[in-house]
Symmetry: C2
Subunit: 301 residues, 2 copies
């Protein structure tokens, strides 16, 4: 059995890694994200050189920034759609890695992180793992029984509009599409736009308001996906007390209705365990899964 | 290969059916829902007699009212949990059908209906099918690639709190747990409690307000599950114009962000095609799926 290649693709850097069939890291590198042609070329060169040292690659797993076309029936599966990142719209992962002639599994960065945390982090041993990042943007990935979930496209949970404790709480939100969706209310940039400071410098009342919006979202996530663990990371969660407030408020909002969540949520609403490592671990897990289960979203072209 | 038994279990009646391995109906009956012992006994007798005529049963599929314990790891999998229906808490489907000694797949009524519509109705040929009923209660089932989805428990989407067009629109909601969750705002009983009439007798403005709440939910469903078809049924959808208003408002709320939904949603937000038949069709599909894919939620004890 050949080796597994993993790629965590972010807007500023890519992490590339080669792993043994059982997932053990053999080598890794970082590549700055530039135009697709240059970035993909450097990536392919590194994998080709590394494979010469360690052995042939059997599959790629990619956890990528987006938005991406992940419709298994689409002729442009694996391509970037309407990203504002210059040059990247239309760039295609299958083309980028086609020279290796092996299956390529592609998913979002948040599904990749959810896979990584499920394999080796805070989601280990759990059945349904939701991973939410609250930073520059907000996104959630969900893995059930080791399968990343998606529908007609990948999820876009950061744009759900939470019910608000009081409509007139002084802020219209700054999402250019939806105003007061979650991203327009509690992403890092939204918090700075509203209060002129990041949340770690904000008042207790401000932290509690952010926790309230996030708890509306976590309650919806519980009712709509029933994860047995909800992992919350990203820069905004560096705020002391936020995770604890989120636990209490989520339980209070569910009000005893969903039996699974009617208890202290210390082991249900948790921080990531892998930190920066979740994405690349998940990418490798995606690559491994395409070999054992060659169905969407792990897909070969 | 033996025959497939299907059971659609509702609070007032059960529908039981026997089908050929390819899903063709051979016989069916109705049984009034009474105490579990009586109801289960009549059900088992009917299946035993029908199997004597048509041939042996290879698997059961059950689409049942709830709430149910559907955690695959639970020792009480397949039992009713905290239902207010007298006598039913603790009743267990595996015990009820254990005498037949065949695999039993159990799921919720809404996942059953989603399976049925995916197999033979408005979800045919689609990848991710969400089925929502808005009637006495509100619930949503989701099927992806022919697999009903669930997490630590089945979904409880009727209790999601929609963002409201104006908080002070004159009604606190009547859900005993959450007040103004979706069920507390737009279930049949909530509408009657608020306006003293069902929605088909209500004013245009009232219908539009209900459509607005439902569109907040449909937008969340699109962002959180990305179904390629969202089926809306149940008594409240007998209201003329409601489905059309829901399409327009859902698209407007998504505001072009999710490319898949940025078009007239006539083929995305639709009425059920099977009417009353979705549940029993789905139950038979669940029974068939356990034979080809004996994994959760299709589970043998």
């Amino acid at each position: 059995m050949g080796l597994i290649a993993g790629i965590e693709a972010g807007g500023t850097k890519f992490v590339a890694a080669l792993a043994s069939p059982d997932g053990r890291l053999l080598d890794r590198t970082r590549i700055a994200t530039r135009a697709p042609a240059e970035t993909f070329a450097e990536l392919a060169e590194w994998f080709a050189a590394t494979a010469r040292r360690h052995g042939p690659i059997a599959a790629f797993g990619v956890a990528s920034f987006g938005p991406l076309d992940l419709d298994p029936a689409s002729p442009t599966h694996g391509s970037f759609t309407t990203t504002p990142k210059p040059g990247w719209s239309g760039a295609n992962w299958h083309e980028a890695l086609g020279q290796f002639g092996v299956p390529v599994a592609i998913d979002t960065d948040v599904n990749g992180a959810a896979m990584g945390e499920w394999m080796a982090g805070a989601g280990r041993g759990r059945r349904t793992v939701a991973y939410t990042t609250v930073g520059t943007g907000i996104g959630t990935g969900v893995v059930t029984d080791g399968r990343p979930l998606f529908g007609a496209s990948h999820y876009e949970m950061g744009h759900v509009r939470p019910a608000r404790p009081a409509l007139d709480d002084g802020w219209h939100g700054n999402c250019p599409f939806h105003g007061d969706c979650l991203e327009g209310l509690v992403s890092g940039p939204a918090i700075i736009a509203r209060w002129g400071t990041d949340l770690s410098q904000a008042s207790e009342a401000q932290v509690m308001l952010v926790a309230d919006y996030l708890a509306e979202f976590a309650a919806s996530l519980a009712l709509m996906h029933a994860p047995d663990v909800m992992i919350f990371g990203g820069g905004v969660f560096n705020t002391p007390g936020l995770l604890e407030a989120l636990r209490e408020k989520t339980r209070a909002k569910l009000a005893g209705y969903a039996a699974f969540y009617d208890r202290p949520l210390d082991d249900v609403i948790v921080a990531p365990a892998l930190g920066d490592g979740a994405g690349i671990t998940g990418a490798i897990a995606l690559g491994r899964s395409i070999l054992s289960n060659p169905s969407p979203p792990a897909k070969s072209r």
